[in-house]
Amino acid sequence: MTAITLNVIVQGVLTGLVYGLMALGLSVIFGVMRVVNFAHGELTVVAMYAAFLLFEMLHLEPLIALLPIAAAFFGIGYLLQRTLISPFIGRAEHEQFILLVGLATVIVNGVLLIFGPDARPINLPYSFDSYAIGPLFIDKVRVLAAVAALAVAAALFLFFRYTRTGTAIRACADNLTGAAVVGLNVKQLYAVTFGLGLACVGAAGSLMATIADASPGLSQAYTLLAFTIVIIGGLGSMMGALVGGILIGVSEALAGFYIQPSMKSMFSFALLIIVLVLRPQGLMGRRL
C-alpha cells in the first residue's frame, strides 16, 4: 500500500468517527423507540450553524462549544419527544415518517431563511496544521474531531452500561411491556433517550463544522449518510454505528481520491445495498 493510499485511509477513518457519532444518535433513538428520525441531518446542520455562530460571536472553539451545544440539543430533543413525537410512538412507520419529514422541511428552510444558502466556514487558527508521522500527514482538525467524537461516544457507552437511567433505557428497548410492568416511567425515559440522541447530533454537528462548511444543502445528504451508516453497522447497535461510520468514511475518502469526489456517495449506497441484501440486520446488529 502506498503512502498516499494510507494517508487517504487515515483521513477517512478520522472523518468516519465523526460520521459515526452522528449516526450513533440515530441508532440510539431507533434502537430504543423504533422511531426513525428523518430530520437527523437537518438537526446536524443546525448544530453546525450553532458552532459557527458561537465561534463568530464569542470566539468559542467548536471543541469547547460542543459542550453547550450538546446540552442545548439534549433539551431540544427532550422537548421534541415530549410534545411532538410522543403521540406517534408505536404508530405506523409512514405516519412517523411524514411527521419527521414535516419537521425536517421546517428546519432546513428555517436555516435557509435565517442564514441564506451560502456555506459558512469556521476558520480556526490551526485549520491547516497537520501532524507528520513517518510518511503520514494528518490534519490536526480531523484528529481533534475524531478524538472528541470517540470521547462523546465512550461517555454514552458508559452511561448506558453503568448508570441506573442507562440501564432503565436499555430495559425499555429490550422489553417495553416488562419495563412498564416493573414501574419504569417510559415516557420520561423515551424523552431522555431522544435527548441523548440529539446530544450526539449536537456534538457531531459542532465537530463536523470544523471539517466541512455549514450550509443548508448538506442536511438531506447527512440524513441519508446517517441512515446508510446505521444500516451498515446495524440499527440499534452502538458499536455498529461507529464501525459503519469508519467504513463509510474510508470508502468515501478512497472513492473521492481515486475516482471522483462527486461519486463518493455512490459507493456508500452500493455498500448499503450489498449489506442490506447479504446481512440485513447490519454488520453488528443482533436481529432484525
Binding site: 426513525v36 409512514h94 411527521l99 422541511t105 462527486s262
Partner: protein, 333 residues
C-alpha cells in the same frame, strides 16, 4: 369499478360526475396559470395512485419512486433527442426499463426478507445510486442536464408530446382519471383482495395459499410502470431533466404526500390529497408574492407545518373523514 360505482349513492355519483365535468370544461374559463396548477394536481393524483398501489394496497413503503419517475423521463426524452423516437413509442420502452428496475428492487428486497424501514431504505439507496450514476452519464448530459428542443422539426406537435398547455392539461386529466378507474378496478379484483390480505397479515395470507412474493411483485410491476408513464409526462412537460432534480429524494417524498394526506389505501385518497396540497403550495407562493415577501424558505416552512398538523389530526387521511362528513358511503372505499 362497476361494483363500486353501483354501491355509491346518488350524491357520490353526482359529485363525481360534476367534478369530472368541471375539470373537462375548466379550460373554457381558466387562464394559463390556473391550468398549470390543475396540471400539477392531476400529475400528483396520478403518481399518488401509482405509489398508493404499492404502499396503500400491498403495504410496502417505497421512498424511492423517483427512480422509476426518472428512468421513465430519461428513457423517453433520450430516445427523442438522440434517436428521434417520439414519446408515444418511447413510453413503451420507458415502461419496461422502469419496471425492470422495480422488479430488481422488489426481488432483492422481498427475496431476502427486507421489510418495513429496511425496505424503504433499500428503495432510497437505489434511487440515490442511480441519481449519482446519471450525474456522470455523458450521453444524457450528465449533471448539466438533458434539454428538449422546442424549435426542432415537429417539436410542438401533439404526436411528439409538444404544444400548448391544453395538450398537457387533457393528457394529465386523462392519466389521472384512467389511474383512478384502474385502481378502482384492481381494488375489486381478486388481486386487490390478495394485496389487502398480504398487507394486513402476511403470515395469514400465506397460510390461505397466497403467494406473498408474487402479489408484491405484481404491485411493484404496476406501480413502477405507472410511475414511468408519469416520468415521460414530466420530461416532456418540463422539457429539461437534471439528475439532481428528477432522481432526488425530494421527488420521492413529494409524490407520496398526496396519497398519505388524502388517505392511504383508498381509491380517492390520492386525488383528494392532490387537490388539497397542490393549490395550498401554489396559493402560498401567490400570497407571498402579493405581500411582497421574498423569503425563499417560508413557503416550505408552512408546508412542513401543515404536514405535521394533518398527520397529527387525521392520520388516516382526509378522504375517509371527508366522505363521512359528506354522507357518502364511499367512506369504505
Amino acid at each position: 369499478m362497476t361494483n363500486i360505482w353501483y354501491h355509491t349513492n346518488w350524491r357520490g355519483k353526482a359529485i363525481c360526475l360534476l367534478l369530472l365535468l368541471a375539470f373537462v370544461a375548466a379550460p373554457i374559463v381558466a387562464d394559463r396559470y390556473l391550468l398549470s396548477v390543475l396540471i400539477l394536481v392531476f400529475y400528483f393524483a396520478y403518481l399518488g395512485h401509482a405509489w398508493n398501489l404499492l404502499m396503500g394496497f400491498a403495504g410496502q413503503l417505497s421512498l424511492g419512486h423517483a427512480l422509476y419517475l426518472g428512468l421513465g423521463a430519461y428513457t423517453a426524452t433520450a430516445l427523442w433527442t438522440l434517436f428521434g423516437v417520439g414519446p408515444w413509442i418511447g413510453v413503451f420502452i420507458a415502461i419496461p426499463v422502469a419496471a425492470a428496475a422495480g422488479m430488481l428492487v422488489g426481488w432483492l428486497g422481498w427475496r431476502f426478507a427486507i421489510e418495513g424501514v429496511y425496505f424503504a431504505l433499500l428503495t432510497i439507496a437505489f434511487a440515490e445510486f442511480t441519481r449519482i450514476g446519471f450525474d456522470h452519464l455523458g450521453i444524457t448530459g450528465a449533471s448539466a442536464g438533458l434539454f428538449l428542443s422546442v424549435s426542432s422539426e415537429g417539436a410542438d406537435k401533439w404526436w411528439n408530446l409538444g404544444g400548448g398547455p391544453l395538450l398537457y392539461y387533457y393528457i394529465s386529466l386523462i392519466l389521472a382519471v384512467a389511474a383512478t378507474v384502474l385502481v378502482a378496478g384492481l381494488r375489486q379484483s381478486s388481486l386487490g383482495y390478495r394485496w389487502l390480505a398480504v398487507r394486513e397479515d402476511p403470515e395469514a395470507a400465506q397460510a390461505v395459499g397466497i403467494n406473498i412474493f408474487r402479489a408484491r411483485m405484481i404491485a411493484m410491476l404496476i406501480s413502477s410502470s405507472m410511475t414511468a408513464v408519469g416520468g415521460v409526462f414530466y420530461g416532456f412537460y418540463y422539457r429539461n431533466l437534471f439528475p439532481s432534480q428528477v432522481f432526488d429524494i425530494g421527488r420521492s417524498i413529494e409524490l407520496i404526500l398526496a396519497p398519505i394526506i388524502g388517505g392511504l389505501g383508498t381509491i380517492f385518497g390520492p386525488v383528494v390529497g392532490a387537490i388539497i396540497l397542490t393549490p395550498l403550495g401554489e396559493g402560498l407562493t401567490g400570497l407571498m408574492q402579493s405581500l411582497g415577501i421574498n423569503a425563499p424558505g417560508a413557503k416550505l416552512i408552512f408546508y412542513g407545518i401543515m404536514l405535521m398538523i394533518i398527520i397529527s389530526l387525521r392520520p388516516d387521511g382526509v378522504w375517509p373523514w371527508l366522505a363521512r362528513q359528506m354522507g357518502l358511503n364511499g367512506s369504505r372505499k
